[in-house]
């Protein structure tokens, strides 16, 4: 870290004083520290989510098999694992909590909590966020929400087990699941987390609109910031809907309302409409930032401008906008009016188009480029390859008659993991590796990075591609023991194969974890701009930047993707460089 700390207050009453350790690193108002706090918290939850997946996969490999008890099963109470046998109530909890933790406590904070916080002020040339105190509040609201969510594992009756989608009435009355306190803790945690997200969103939007450096016009903003800006608008509008639904469900659970109970005048389908009205924009919240990071990394890695920058921005906006109109595609078989099925099918088909545009533009960026396959570039290119699969599998379930068969089968599990893991998580790995030098002043180890990448890519596909087949064969989701259905018993061998591939996949992530932690202390010292990128965080701030980011507010002269421009000798042209840029003395960091 920088040895001197001067506080750059955004207001006229600038004052200088040394901050205590607590005010610098724990209750910090610096967007970079807050981003890093989110990083550590989310990586921890990513680990928890992964362990829950491992438990699920053990059960699916050895369904109710006393000869293959769960390793470490003795650590769990008898109410969850009895003599090494995972009980159905715990399995359903694991399914629910894997989804909940991965989506809300791992992927979303990794994409938004980390990178919106870290990148936005740096990329637009601002000293910090518009509301630093609110920013601090957002992390310190998310953190207790995480603790409350973890607490649910330790209460009588176990944790919530109605699926991360929490369909009522299963989720509304403990009678149906046997889960009492766990469900309430889940709801309270999610309500609190929602407030954390809203605080963040307000900050990101305000900062991007109001605090751009001179010359940083809208169409010179790097794509990560564009994606995060649009994502923040989605968060601002979608989270309140979820929070409302969660409060209604909490009331049904605790004070005797019956919003979702049909026997007393409520409507179960109301939950689904409210949840998915939030839920569909939520999945675009989970992919758009990743698309922004991938654009940045591919352009920098290809030494070429992003192909069709304006189209990319418009595609992000189109995806975000149309994303509000497709929620019913989760409800085709729900019993809602079939005519609605048709209208939602049309909008769902349409939203495939801007995603396709983005894929082709990434290919166009690589075309005739000078491709440097450093670790971030590997992840970014893998994102494109895997996202294509995830997007195409979505076309199957978008067709309402085909969805009749594929709904609630493993085909959907394959689809969501191709976009969330193959898409978002690869983008996250790439982004962490890419911006790590800026955050910590050190490089992550490149060899370990590549080993981790290849193991992850290969085993990810071995785990999730066969799930398309399981779904096509009619295997339902969230099934504790599929051998109880005679027609599914023949798939025991395939489930075993998937599970062991999953164990290797999860194991490989420890290489990333080790690399991440080890490099904090022993990583190669990072130069200011190891990737020879153009955006302000690389060109106008050291690695890592001090409090206040820039010694002087930069002035921006061009867009962020002027790579290999004929008017400048080097193959990159920093945004804040007034004249032609000299070529860098050392090559792009690639090893």
């Amino acid at each position: 870290m920088a040895t001197t700390l001067t506080e750059h207050a955004p207001h006229a009453d600038a004052h200088h004083h040394e901050l205590s350790f607590v005010r610098k690193y724990i209750f910090s108002e610096d967007h970079k520290i807050i981003g890093i706090q989110f990083l550590f918290m989310s990586l921890f939850f990513l680990l928890v989510g992964g362990l829950l997946a491992a438990i699920m996969r053990w059960q699916l490999a050895y369904p109710t098999d006393a000869a293959n008890p769960l390793p470490g099963g003795g650590l769990f109470p008898e109410t969850m694992v009895n003599n090494g046998i995972i009980l159905p109530e715990f399995y359903n909890s694991a399914v629910t909590m894997h989804g909940t933790i991965m989506i809300f406590f791992a992927i979303m904070p990794l994409l938004v909590g980390v990178f919106a916080n870290y990148l936005i002020p740096l990329q637009i040339g601002a000293p910090d966020m518009a509301f630093p105190k609110l920013n601090m509040a957002s992390f310190w609201t998310a953190f207790p929400a995480g603790l409350i969510m973890l607490a649910g594992f330790f209460v009588e009756g176990g944790h919530s087990s109605a699926g991360w989608t929490q369909y009522a009435p299963l989720s509304a009355d403990p009678e149906w699941t046997g889960v009492y306190a766990g469900q309430r803790l889940w709801l309270i945690s999610m309500i609190i987390l929602g407030f954390a997200s809203l605080m963040g969103a307000v900050n990101y939007i305000t900062t991007v609109i109001n605090m751009r450096a001179p010359g940083m016009t809208w169409f010179r903003i790097p794509l990560p910031t564009w994606a995060l800006f649009i994502t923040a608008i989605l968060i601002l509008l979608a989270i309140p809907v979820l929070t409302g639904a969660l409060i209604m469900l909490l009331f049904d659970q605790t004070i005797g309302t019956t919003f979702f109970a049909s026997a007393t005048g409520g409507e179960p389908l109301l939950w689904q409409h409210m949840f998915w009205f939030f839920g569909h924009p939520e999945v675009y919240i989970l992919i758009l930032p990743g698309m922004g990071f991938v654009s940045e990394i591919i352009a920098a890695g290809s030494r070429k401008p992003i192909f069709g920058y304006a189209a990319m921005v418009l595609a992000i906006i189109a995806i975000a906008f149309i994303g509000w109109l497709v929620w019913g595609h989760h409800m085709f078989q729900s019993g809602m009016n079939p005519m609605l099925g048709m209208s939602f099918m049309v909008t769902t088909m349409i939203i495939a188009v801007p995603s396709a545009i983005k894929v082709f533009n990434w290919l166009g960026t690589m075309w005739r480029g000078d491709l440097h396959f450093h670790t971030p570039m590997l992840h970014a290119v893998a994102f494109v390859a895997m996202f294509v699969i995830g997007g195409l599998s979505g076309v199957f379930v978008a067709s309402t008659p085909v969805d009749i068969f594929l709904h609630d089968t493993y085909f959907v599990v394959a689809h969501i993991h191709y976009v969330l893991f193959g898409g978002s998580l690869f983008a996250i790995f790439g982004a962490i590796t890419f911006w790590y030098p800026k955050m910590f002043g050190r490089m992550m180890n490149s060899t370990l990075g590549k080993i981790h990448f290849w193991l992850t890519l290969i085993f990810f596909n071995l785990v999730f591609f066969p799930m398309h087949n399981l779904g096509i064969a009619g295997m339902m989701r969230r099934i504790y023991d599929f051998t109880q259905y005679e027609y599914l018993a023949p798939f025991q061998g395939l489930q075993l194969f998937i599970s062991w591939s999953a164990f290797v996949l999860i194991g490989a992530q420890f290489i990333f974890a080790f690399n991440f932690l080890y490099s904090l202390f022993r990583g190669e010292k990072a130069p200011q701009n190891p990737w020879h990128a153009n955006s302000l965080e690389w060109t106008a701030a050291p690695s890592p930047p001090p409090h206040g980011n820039f010694a002087h507010t930069p002035t921006v002269y061009r867009g962020p993707y002027e790579y290999s421009h004929p008017d400048t000798p080097g193959d990159y042209w920093p945004q804040n460089e007034p004249g032609p840029a000299a070529p860098a003395p050392e090559p792009v960091y690639a090893e």
């Binding site: 209750f27 109710t64 006393a66 109470p77 008898e78 109410t79 969850m80 009895n82 003599n83 046998i85 009980l87 159905p88 109530e89 105190k133 609110l134 601090m136 509040a137 310190w140 609201t141 207790p144 409350i148 607490a151 330790f154 209460v155 009588e156 009756g157 176990g158 009678e175 699941t177 046997g178 009492y180 306190a181 309430r184 803790l185 309270i188 945690s189 609190i192 605790t254 504790y480 023991d481 109880q484």
Partner: protein, 287 residues
């Protein structure tokens, strides 16, 4: 100078409030649903001198017309169906030709001194064999361990829905034993299996050791009662409840015979009502 409503302090207050709310709303935080020790106390109860206790015996008879047993269609679970030499039947009123009523739960309702009766001897066993609960009716002490045993080795669900106690809804996918207990007296708690909808059982929880279940011959026996006057009650799932007063004399047997008829049918107090869907076992064409 820091303002009082510094965000830092607000956050700390908010965090504390959230935790209080969670703990309050969460109810029983802490240990999960495993049982407590079976009612043992730190200081052991003073033993009752056997010379001062008597016995209550009796027979429960039924004088009405019993509904015919209904056949249970177990075809979907062949492993269980094979365990029954005769076709499995649902017998709501198990009565002999002489009118001896089985599966009646008899217990002391009033008259016991307010004292600690000591720990239960050990766990009670509630077994699932041939897709039936064995025993069909069972009595336990408050806090006594109930070992729920899955002798069938296939997926069973054990769903107990009491009114007063905290219920449970657990699963045993294969041979295993799960232990639960009830902390409050309650007569009776219905138990059902949501996977095998015909399975039904009843557990009565009392806070003393003076209870029994009538056998196939209709008889019951309760020993070790201190001398005195008691109200003794009988509960039957189909025929309802009765009570009578009995006087116990030291070292003697007192008789308490119950006669149940159809007048109180359907009035038995039961936790949450059990709704059984009865499959009509088919004729030759269905399996």
């Amino acid at each position: 100078m820091r303002k009082f409503f510094d965000p830092f302090r607000l956050l700390a207050l908010g965090g504390a409030a959230a935790f209080l709310l969670a703990c309050g709303g969460g109810g029983d935080a802490g240990a999960d649903g495993a049982s407590s020790e079976g009612g043992a106390d730190a200081d052991a109860a003073p033993a009752i001198d056997p010379a001062t206790t008597g016995t209550v015996v009796g027979t429960v008879t039924y004088t009405g017309s019993a509904p015919a047993p209904e056949p249970i269609d177990m075809s979907e679970e062949p492993t269980c169906a094979e365990k029954h030499d005769d076709a499995p039947m649902r017998v709501p009123v198990r009565v002999s030709d002489d009118g001896d009523l089985a599966n009646a739960f008899i217990y002391i309702k009033e008259g016991l001194a307010d004292r600690d009766w000591g720990a239960a001897g050990g766990p009670a066993t509630f077994d699932q064999e041939g897709c039936e609960y064995i025993p069909h009716v069972m009595g336990v002490r408050t806090g006594q361990d109930i070992d729920i045993v899955n002798s069938d080795g296939l997926m069973h669900n054990i769903n107990a829905s009491p009114n007063v106690n905290r219920g449970f809804n657990i699963n045993q996918p294969t041979n295993m034993t799960s232990t639960r207990s009830f902390s409050q007296p309650e007569v009776m708690i219905p138990v059902r299996c949501d996977v095998h909808g015909w399975m039904e059982g009843y557990i009565g929880v009392v806070d003393h050791p003076f209870f029994a279940v009538s056998g196939d011959d209709g008889t019951f026996r309760i020993e070790g009662l201190p001398a005195g006057d008691y109200t003794i009650g009988v509960w039957h799932e189909q025929l309802g409840e009765r009570e009578m007063v009995v006087t116990v004399t030291a070292q003697e047997e007192s008789t308490a015979d119950f006669t149940l008829d159809d007048s109180t049918a359907g009035t038995a107090s039961v936790g949450e009502p059990l709704v059984i869907h009865h499959s009509h076992a088919g004729g030759a064409a269905s399996r």
